[in-house]
Structures are given as structure tokens and as C-alpha cells.
Amino acid sequence: MRNSPVRLAAVALAAALGVSALAACGGSDSAGGSGDGGSGGKGSKTVTLVSHDSFNASPAVLKAFTAQTGYTVKVLKSGDAGEALNKEILTKGSPQGDVFFGVDNTLLSRALDNGIFTPYEAKGLGSVEAAAQLDADQHRVTPIDTGDICVNYDKKYFADRKLAPPASFDDLVKPAYKNLLVTENAATSSPGLGFLLGTAARYGDDGWQDYWKKLKANGVQVVDGWEQAYNENFSGSAGGKKAKGDRPLVVSYASSPPVEVLYADPQPKTAPTGVATGTCFRQIEFAGLLKGAKNEAGGKALLDFLISEKFQADMPLNMFVNPVVKGVALPALFTEFGATVERPETLAPAKIAANRDQWVQSWSSLVVK
């Protein structure tokens, strides 16, 4: 008698799971044909791409890959860039997918030191910019795109005050730009970290801390993430305007101005924001074949495809990054509204690896505390 509700409930649970399974299957899985569960065994027609939340590709381009190779791509977004990589390190040997896309030069050494990738030399690597090939000896990772983390400015603010917007790191500590800049926490945000590394590259191991002391004295504001800095505090973005943001300078990307144009309705004639091209740090993003991938052949085909012209040309308007393959044309939106960064700051991955944690620690106690 005591057990009867238990039994009844067990039946109910089984029924519930059954019903919901039916409900869930009815709605989906018609497009992918992947069935439920993982990426399948050997000879599977599905290849799983694990990436960060910012990954995007046109459906048409992914379909072209299927037409070309017979593999269907399943995308698994796995959090922000750092989080997504850390998940791959934790699940090393039993990965969630076949290819991981989205490790950049600031975290590259962490990925390589943990040995999560199987070396593979992608077809077409010859046409990829040499400067982006940071693992050219072993081909554990393949460069896919580049982007620049730069200070963006609110054009209207500076025009109204007849003040020239800042152009370089040096400008940002000048009294004219006091209390104007908002940046992200270098400990938790990838543009925040990029900006810190940019200053370290510009002023060297000894000079960057002094620079940040000046920046702090000049009223730099630090918030936790890019969303908040850009959508709430920055006065030039659509979200920031609505939120009455009061900072006309923000650490964002060189490609942010075209995005402001693309997602405005009606689209304005000029971008409302501009880029201080002397404050940029170059990010390079890589992809690699995961060790223990269930579909290695499909993964290799996908890596080849990621540096094919078709995918490279599709990237800018989906992820707002620049192609790494030489000669791929940028969309008009980029050439018209975007900034060309002639000489971005760069740092070797080994140098970043050796100093990153310690720099972030000193930065935190210097700026946040």
C-alpha cells in the first residue's frame, strides 16, 4: 500500500518522458536529419562545430557545405569565448563535437598547452595571411578571421563640442578626454583583456601600469562586460542612446560602426560612431580538429571549408570580423562605414601566455580595487 503512489508516479514519469519526446521530435530534426543525441559514429553524415555564442553563418553557406561534401553541420554554441574553450579543456578526449572554432591569440597557448587539438593542415592554407599563422609548424590550429579591439567614439558628442575625437592611446590620458571612456573588466571580458594587452604592447612591461594610473586619474570607468559598456554606458550606440549613456568613448571593435548602420531602420547615411584607430589590438581567431572527434573526416572537411572563399566572404556580415584569406572582398558596408586599422598592436601568444594572469591581477588591484 505504501508503494502504490511510487509505482503510479513511475508510470507517470515514463509517460511524461514519452509524450515530451514525441512533442520534441515533432517540431524539429527535419532540417538537420541528425536525429537525437551526439554527432554519431564513424561514417556519420553530421559534423559538429563547437563555438562561442558569437558564431554565425548564413544558412545558405552551410547548405553549400552540405552540397559540396555531403556533411551536415550542427553548431553547438558553448558560452563566451573563454568559457567555450574551458569547456573543451575539461572534456578533453571526450569532446562535445568535432571542430572547435573560436580560440583567439589571447587564449591560444592555454588551448595548445592542454593539447585539445589533433594537428591537421587545412587545404588552402597557402592563401592565408602569413601574419595570422601562429602555429605554422604544427598546424594544431587554423586561423579563420581577424578583428581589432579599438576605442569607439560617439561622433555627435565630439561634433557638438567641436572637439577632435581621440586617435591614440596617448590621447586618452589627456585632460580634454577626462571622464569620457568606459572599458570592460580585463578579468572577465575579452575586449577588456584585449584593450589591456594593447596598452601592454604599446607601453611595454614596465610602462603599462603607469599608463593605467594616468587613465584612472583621467576618470576611466570599468564595467563588467561588453554588453553593459556598449549598450548602457556608451552614448553613441542605439542601446546607449536609449539608456542615456554618458560616456562618448567605449572599448569595442573596429567593426562596431558598420553594425550600428546595419541594424538601424532606416539605415543612416553615415555611421553614428567612429573608431580611434591608434588604440587597436589585433585579435586572431582559430579553429582546430578536436582530439577524440567522432567524425574526423567530416571535421577536416569543415576546416577546409572555413578557409574557403565562400565561408570567408560570408563571415564579415555575420560575425563582424575580417577574413584571413588574402583577396577576399569585404562587403560594401565594411569598406564604407568601417575603419581600416593600419598598424594594430600585437603580442606573441607565448608572451601573452607568460604574462596574462599576472597582468590581469596587477591590473585588477590597480584599477578596480
Binding site: M1, R2, N3, P5, V6, L8, A9, A12, L13, A16, S20, A24, G27, S28, D36, G37, G38, T48, D53, N56, A57, P59, V75, L76, G79, G82, E83, N86, K87, L90, T91, R110, N185, A187, T188, V223, D224, G225, W226, Q228, N231, E232, A238, G239, K242, A243, K244, G245, D246, S256, V259, E260, L262, Y263, D265, P266, D357, S364, V368, K369
Partner: protein, 537 residues
């Protein structure tokens, strides 16, 4: 008891133990020395100190503001009461990304306070405290108010007839009856604010950090698993202590109180005092809850060409999201509803079984089990999420890529609500009724159907509503495992907020409003079927 125990072992204890173990075990065995090392760090001690005092302050402030509300909702009748009660519960299930945005609009630069008096509270601890009141107001109103509405007012009247003053009568009669409920509510608020994550991260800025935020940073960003493991154990200990105290107050509350139908205790406000109280409560609810919610609605309508429904229309198409999603954002509504439905079913079965087991047995073991069921409320989502990732990766439990993982994780948070709602009702069912049915020849199933079911049906519905609403708003664990082609509402909102451009921002606000409405409607439906005995929340 076996089914819920197995459920918790597989989907909670095992993953959490695995991730903590990964942090504390190296090739040479367990590294318990790390405990002392991490606990000795001044920054960690600072985090612990801040976590504790902000939770204490939040709890005190919430009680101060919400207790008058509990009285008003319990004892006074006014038009629109049911709708308002549903609305004040909406924040409880809203994702913090959304709430953070609303609060910044009010308390930040150019916000209402700034324009009126030039006061800015963003990145101060006040923003955190007020947001905590916003989130937890309903916990106090529902726990304390629920009981208050069922206390027989004639007892207080009797005291007054016997010569006690109004205040003395309240202090001697009503307060002792309410005290355990107040304590239980305070402890729940303390638990929720102690483990606060999104509010602190968004409103506090990088200068403030709670244990939960620190666990997230150490795990997801720095991959410092040993430190994360120590912090997780620390939070475990704290939450365990809170729950132990909570369990004791709840038990004390089960002393016999004469409860009556809430419909008979409430009346229209009389006298200047009651009107003033009603006014004060309505005012504070408007300022603290309706205003932030209103800001979201306002922003969702504020398109480039003036107010309109443009952002809502954009939710229906894939193109407008610029490939942010593989499906139109509006499909997230369907996903959310489907996931929440399955999560509710699982939570009901597991929670119902657990509650049944808890009613029928006693002893320290069972009480421990009771506390265990509450534990998921206090353990960080990132710990559970990463735990899932490294444990559920082999057959027969290769669930990482399966859709069922989302409702399973959501059910984990829903179960405590089901247990706490069902338990008092089940305990009130007289076992003799069941025995009588058996003596009269009813089969066990029939006895259950004819005796228990009618009595618990309404409690079951209320529990279902709570579990459903919690699943709908669950973000932390879902964001870890939701499949990109099937985002839930909170996940979709977060993703839209993560991209620049007016259309994305507007759509995020519109989708938040949709989530708000879906929550409010399910809670309103719940209002219609309130039980005669209140739950423990």
C-alpha cells in the same frame, strides 16, 4: 523515496561531486591543503565578507518593505488584488540580464532618480540591495501573507475584548503565530541573496563579487578549478547551515494553528490607518516593482520612428536577427513552453514522490533528505553545468547533446518548490481516512485516488505553476546546455543583448516583455486555484 533519491544522485550529487573532485584531486591524491590556502587569501575573505553582509542587509530591507505588503495582501480587499499579486511574483522568475537592464535605466545615469534629484546608484551597493528587494518581495508576501490570511482574526479580537490594546493583542496573538513563517521567509531570502549572481555582476560592477560570482569567474573564465572547488565547498557549507536552520523553523511552524478560509479574513480597508498602509504598500510596489517592469515595456515599444510594435514584428523573422538565431526569436516562446512543460512534469513526479515519502516516514535520515532536496537552490549553476559536462558523456548517460538535459536541469530547481508546496498539504491528510478506505476493501491505488488525490489536487496544481514559472525563467543552467537551434526565452534575450545595433536591443526588450507576460499569465491562472493551506514559500 528511491526514485527521487536516484534522480538526485545521478543529476545532482554525481556531477557536482565530479567537478569538485576534479579541482581537489591531483595525481598524488586529495589536496585538502588547498582549502586552507584559498581560505587564507585576503581577496577570498573579502568576497566572503561582502557576500554575507549584503545578504543580511538585503534580507532586512526586503522584510522591512515586504512585510506591510504581506499584511495588505492577506487582510485587505481591493480591486485588482489578484492581478497585482501575480505581477509582484513576476520578478521572481525574470532572468537577471533583463532586470539588470531595467534597474540601470532607473538608477543609472539619466535614470529617473538622476533626472529628479541627481542621484545615481549604479555600481553602488544600493542598486544591488534594491534589486534584491525587487526579486524577493514575492517570497515574503507569499510565505507570510499566505499564513496571515488564514489566521483566525477572532483570536486577536478576543484578546482585545479581554482588555489588550491593539498593539499588545497583535504582539501577543498574531506575532507568535506568524514568527516562524517570517523566519522561514527571511531564511529563503537570505539563501537567494547569499547566492546572488546576475544582480551583483550587472549592477555591482567589477568592484563587487559574491561567492557565486567568484565561483563562476574561477571556473568559466580562469579555469582555476581548485579554487572554484574550495569556494563551492564553502558555499555548500553555508547553504547547508541555512537550510538546517530553515528546516527547524519549518518544523516548529507545524504546530497546530487554527486556520480558516482566507476569503473570510480579508475585508475592505477601514479607518485611516489601514488606508494609509494600503497606500504605502501600493506606492512601494509601484516604485520598486511596477516601475522597472514598465521601463522594459516602454523600451520595447520605443522604435526609431516613435512608439510602435516594430520590434515585436521583427521577432517573427530570421532575417531581422541577422543570423543571431537559426530560427525566428519568437520560436523561443514555443521552446520555452515545451521545455518548461517537461520540466514541470519531471519536477512534479520527483517532488511529489519525495513529499509523499517525507510525509510517511520520520527520523533524522528523512530530515536530511528534506534538506538535500533544497540544496540545488543554493548550488551555483556553473558548478552543476560543468558537472553535467564531464559526467554525462558516456552511454548509457550520454545526454550532453540531448534536449532532455535542459528540462532535467530546470526540474532540479523546480523540485524544491514542489516539495515545499505539497508537504504541508500531504501532512494534513489524515492517515485514518486512508486506512478506513483500505478496511472497506479499496485497493491501494483506489484509496490513493479517492482519498489523497482530491485533497492534494489543488496543491499539485499550485506546485505545477511554481515549477513551470521557475523553469520558464531559469537561465544559469539552461544557457550551458540549450541547443543553439532551440533557444529558450531568457537565452534568446541574453543573445540579443550581446550584439550591437538598435534592432537587436529593441528585440531583446520586446522578448523580455513577452517573457514577462507569459509568466504573469501562468501565475494568474495559478491565483485561481490557490489551496486552502498555504505552501511553505
Amino acid at each position: 523515496m528511491a526514485v527521487p533519491l536516484a534522480f538526485f544522485a545521478v543529476f545532482f550529487a554525481y556531477p557536482v561531486a565530479a567537478i569538485v573532485g576534479r579541482g581537489l584531486r591531483t595525481g598524488d591524491g586529495w589536496q585538502f591543503g588547498r582549502l586552507a590556502a584559498v581560505l587564507g587569501r585576503p581577496d577570498i575573505l573579502g568576497v566572503l565578507w561582502f557576500t554575507t553582509w549584503q545578504a543580511l542587509a538585503s534580507t532586512a530591507l526586503t522584510l522591512l518593505i515586504a512585510l506591510p505588503g504581506a499584511y495588505v495582501f492577506a487582510r485587505l480587499d481591493f480591486p485588482g488584488k489578484a492581478v497585482l499579486r501575480a505581477v509582484v511574483t513576476v520578478p521572481f522568475v525574470l532572468p537577471t540580464v533583463v532586470v539588470g537592464t531595467a534597474f540601470l535605466a532607473l538608477l543609472g545615469r539619466g535614470g529617473l532618480l538622476d533626472e529628479l534629484w541627481g542621484i545615481r546608484l549604479d555600481t553602488t551597493v544600493w542598486a544591488i540591495l534594491l534589486a534584491h528587494v525587487f526579486f524577493n518581495y514575492a517570497v515574503v508576501v507569499r510565505t507570510v501573507g499566505g499564513l496571515w490570511s488564514q489566521l483566525d482574526p477572532r483570536q486577536e479580537e478576543a484578546a482585545r475584548v479581554l482588555g489588550a490594546g491593539r498593539f499588545a493583542a497583535w504582539r501577543r496573538v498574531t506575532l507568535p503565530a506568524l514568527a516562524p513563517a517570517v523566519a522561514a521567509a527571511a531564511l529563503m531570502v537570505f539563501l537567494f541573496t547569499f547566492t546572488s549572481f546576475g544582480v551583483v555582476q550587472i549592477l555591482g560592477g567589477p568592484g563587487f563579487s559574491t561567492l557565486e560570482v567568484e565561483i563562476y569567474r574561477q571556473t568559466a573564465q580562469l579555469l582555476d578549478l581548485p579554487t572554484a572547488a574550495v569556494l563551492t565547498l564553502l558555499q555548500f557549507a553555508a547553504v547547508g547551515a541555512i537550510l538546517a536552520v530553515h528546516a527547524r523553523t519549518v518544523r516548529r511552524r507545524e504546530s497546530a494553528l487554527r486556520l480558516v478560509d482566507p476569503a473570510r479574513t480579508a475585508g475592505r480597508p477601514r479607518g485611516r490607518g489601514q488606508w494609509a498602509l494600503l497606500g504605502g504598500v501600493l506606492g512601494s510596489v509601484t516604485l520598486l516593482i511596477l516601475l522597472p517592469l514598465g521601463v522594459l515595456v516602454e523600451r520595447s515599444l520605443d522604435g526609431p520612428g516613435g512608439y510602435g510594435l516594430g520590434f515585436y514584428r521583427a521577432l517573427g523573422s530570421v532575417e531581422a536577427s541577422g543570423g543571431t538565431f537559426l530560427v525566428p526569436p519568437l520560436e523561443a516562446v514555443g521552446n520555452s513552453l515545451r521545455y518548461a512543460l517537461v520540466a514541470t512534469l519531471i519536477a512534479l513526479v520527483i517532488g511529489g514522490l519525495a513529499a509523499a515519502a517525507l510525509t510517511r516516514r520520520a527520523g533524522p535520515l528523512v530530515r536530511g533528505f528534506d534538506a538535500l532536496l533544497m540544496l540545488p537552490l543554493g548550488v551555483s549553476a556553473v558548478t552543476v553545468g560543468f558537472g553535467f559536462l564531464i559526467t554525462l558523456d558516456k552511454p548509457p548517460l550520454d545526454l550532453r547533446a540531448s534536449w532532455i538535459l535542459v528540462p532535467l536541469a530546470q526540474a532540479l530547481v523546480g523540485v524544491p518548490f514542489v516539495v515545499r508546496t505539497m508537504l504541508p498539504v500531504l501532512r494534513a491528510v489524515d492517515a485514518r481516512l486512508r486506512e478506513a478506505a483500505a478496511v472497506l476493501g479499496a485497493s491501494p491505488v483506489r484509496a490513493w485516488r479517492e482519498v489523497d488525490l482530491p485533497l492534494v489536487r489543488r496543491a499539485l496544481l499550485v506546485a505545477a505553476g511554481f515549477a513551470f514559472a521557475v523553469s520558464l525563467g531559469e537561465f544559469g543552467a539552461t544557457v550551458f546546455i540549450a541547443r543553439p537551434d532551440r533557444p529558450t526565452l531568457p537565452v534568446a534575450v541574453a543573445r540579443l543583448l550581446g550584439r550591437p545595433g538598435e534592432l537587436n536591443y529593441g528585440q531583446a526588450m520586446a522578448l523580455s516583455t513577452v517573457l514577462m507576460v507569459v509568466c504573469a499569465v501562468s501565475l494568474l491562472a495559478l491565483e485561481r486555484i490557490r489551496t486552502d493551506r498555504s505552501g511553505e514559500f
